[in-house]
Symmetry: C2
Subunit: 359 residues, 2 copies
């Protein structure tokens, strides 16, 4: 089949040139007589790949030397535990902005380890007003999810915490799609399977001076400082996923970098939001504009009975995986870095024609 436009929320679409390079070099990695997935992670070839990938991330996101870049496993779900286990120290409380599915899960997991001060925001309101974010000086950290994939919400500002309180962000679904202000963020993490590569790789970028606060009973593998000291080679890393992430970084670099990714993301998202806003209520997205995600555009149909038909007809037209998360229903177009503008344009055109036929 010709390549489709894949709007899945993650694992999601990746750059075609990256996929082609992997396929071409998969059986015999650049003339080495074996596949990269058969190579020792301690050999020169993979060691070069992981070091180069770290450097590429540092360059692309302008990560200062105050922060370490770790390649881990376990996805966002494991980070929900690792963040409190590593950052609580002697503190008894951490603050969580809870405005969607993923921040809620993170807060629930943290409650195993400390008192959680939840700053709750109804998802229909999007993100909190800056003035509603009240964090105690003795909180271990303030946590937020910068982009809520399920609910289609994205922060367009950085929540303010007291200077003494580290700020932690889950940036799984908008990683590499906008810059990060490192003077404000002490720790960010991202599962790779949206904008960075295959599932099974998690990237953590953390201030070095925050490492080493875990207690004796913390599992070794859940201690950031162990991985930092070992250059993410404490155990066998997911070598294939890191190879793909390396190629994704090079693709972003060749395409113009993270600022270019941000600009493209806005163009794509605007195409779909404009279609929704100009549909006279046929398509609905009631999230306040300032909180709308550039990555995941969620919408419903005024006539909700048409939802399945929309997804099915779109799929036939080569626009795949548009159904919303199973917990909320409706429709969702995930527009990650690798989605060509033409894909968003094709979806916008399909939305218009579907409305004409069924409106």
């Amino acid at each position: 089949m010709p390549r489709v436009y894949n709007f899945a929320a993650g694992p999601g679409t990746l750059p075609l040139p990256v996929l082609e390079e992997v396929a071409a070099n998969f059986v015999d990695y650049h003339g080495e007589g074996m596949s990269l997935i058969e190579m020792s992670h301690r050999g020169a070839i993979f060691t070069d790949i992981i070091e180069e990938t770290r450097l590429l991330v540092r360059e692309l996101l302008d990560v200062p030397e105050t922060h370490d870049i770790l390649f881990l496993q376990g996805g966002g779900h494991l980070q929900f535990a690792m963040v409190p286990l590593n950052l609580l120290g002697a503190a008894a409380e951490a603050s969580y902005i809870v405005n969607g599915t993923w921040s809620r899960k993170a807060a629930q997991e943290a409650a195993k380890f400390c008192h959680v001060n939840a700053i709750n925001v109804n998802a229909s309101l999007g993100v909190p007003d800056a003035s509603d974010i009240i964090v105690a000086n003795d909180a271990a950290y303030l946590y937020y999810c910068q982009n809520e994939t399920v609910n289609g919400l994205e922060f367009n500002f950085i929540p303010a915490a007291p200077d003494c309180v580290p700020l932690v962000a889950d940036i799984s679904s908008n990683f590499m799609s906008r810059t990060v202000d490192w003077s404000r963020h002490s720790l960010v993490f991202a599962g790779a399977q949206k904008n960075f590569g295959p599932a099974g790789l998690t990237i953590v970028i953390v201030r070095k001076d925050l490492l080493g606060l875990t207690t004796e009973s913390c599992p070794t593998m859940l201690d950031y400082s162990v991985h930092a000291k070992a250059g993410s080679m404490y155990n066998t890393p997911p070598t294939f996923a890191i190879w793909v992430a390396n190629l994704v970084c090079k693709w972003i670099q060749a395409e113009g970098g993270v600022a270019q990714m941000d600009q493209r993301a806005r163009v794509r998202a605007d195409l779909i939001y404009n279609q929704i806003d100009n549909s006279g209520g046929f398509y609905i997205n009631s999230i306040p504009k300032k909180a709308r995600s550039r990555m995941n555009v969620v919408f419903t149909l005024e006539e909700s009975a048409l939802t399945d038909l929309f997804a099915a007809e779109a799929a036939k037209a080569g626009l795949k995986n548009l159904k919303g998360h199973r917990s909320v229903g409706g429709l969702r177009a995930s527009l990650y870095n690798a989605m060509p503008e033409q894909g968003a344009r094709a979806l916008a055109e399909f939305m218009q024609s579907f409305m004409k036929r069924h409106g």
Copy 2:
């Protein structure tokens, strides 16, 4: 380069037909218009793959319905913590047979969570005598590493524990190379990157009635029962690695199953051990024969100064990655399922010619 014989200890050699099938279907997965690594893990295609893989493992290893099969992340290192966190229950002690690098690491990690009764065996003696394995009735479990990759040791018997004490085995490096007696083993685990697929996938096979013993403070992702209930889809699994493992299972099945893998392993290992034993001391392996690994043949040279030359000349001859683990030095030939007999034969012949030239 033509395909080499890759004796790396893991990640290690995989079946060529598997690699070729992955490459051929990598960019466009069987006509779906996208790569498997871009597909939602909750879509029909990946759901079928993970379910089929579970079934294939069940068939190939004859896993009874009393045991659950889990696909996790984090490798053996994370299992070193998960085993005690999940199996300790109210017990204060667990017993560990410590006869090599990996069992020692496992015991050290367990000591974070309970008192460890270590049954120490000097690596030069290989495995303990059955009579030396003394386990208290109230131990939470007895743990052993069935094949020590670094030290080249393998159990050729199943350690006996009291009936009331579950037996746990790390079978990372001999997974799918011999049968498992499920009437004796309550839990086995394996990192994929030896006999099963790419790094980043861990398989755990555990008795269902042992699930659910974790305490409230156990990170959710470290609780086997969470993954068991969710069919290993509690979070996004490493989809690519599971696809490759699926193809490896089918390859093993087509080649004649696990019994055939065992037989081939013995043939390969015998080729190298015979070369060592008939070298008049030029090559040395002093492990008692009953404890010699079929998977990882370690040896040294009487004239140890020749070690680097051996590895370098072998590499030139297409016999790659023969250096021993960095912690022990010497040489090591890892002979996993995917190593053709011809590869072991080529190594044996090289050993003979090297000895002629330097003996």
